[in-house]
Symmetry: C2
Subunit: 131 residues, 2 copies
Amino acid sequence: MQALGQHLLVELRDCNKILLNDLKMTEAFMVDAAKEARATVIGAHFHEFSPHGISGVVIIAESHLSIHTWPEYGYAAVDVFTCGDVLQPSVAADYLVKKFESKNPSLIEVRRGTLSLDGRALPHKPSEEKL
Amino acid sequence: MQALGQHLLVELRDCNKILLNDLKMTEAFMVDAAKEARATVIGAHFHEFSPHGISGVVIIAESHLSIHTWPEYGYAAVDVFTCGDVLQPSVAADYLVKKFESKNPSLIEVRRGTLSLDGRALPHKPSEEKL
């Protein structure tokens, strides 16, 4: 079974609450995390909520990174969704653990789009193949 | 254990390939799915890739929906991430299964931000609580 996408569900617990409520820092960390993983950043969209909490998405050529923060609980839910063989999504996860100063992180890895192709190779975007 | 977020990982297999490669339709389906689930849409950001494939995110006040399509395999990876008690994320998932004509969908539900609060209630955004 080969997979089209690699999806990391990262639980950042016991983080620095001030950082989790700082829109500019959160956006910078997420964009930098994408770059650390060698992703090509296409766009970043972040929003601040009242009374606190930030949601944001970094769209990359190889899929996306997202974050939702609950500063009041010192918690953030991060997703790193990538495709292709070049990227190293765990590098992005490690980077965010460090930057948000999470003292109790955990990670689940999910393989998305597992297809049975009878041994055929699984090109990411096969240019030669027509729909 | 209570959870801050509810996260559906939806595997849409055996979809209509033409729809999976239609940027406008994909965006419309995703925004409508958010609305069907009673989410408040804040923004939508969609991109088309060469030779085919679409990535997009709908940012909602209650978190996000995302999609990555591989038309060449008739497959899309959808995530529906919500918080709060009002939304019905499975309604969004069901809506997308129908719209993309997936003949072989599957779904994993992940509870994000499970916190042990010793029986205390878990307010989503407690306005009275300071950081």
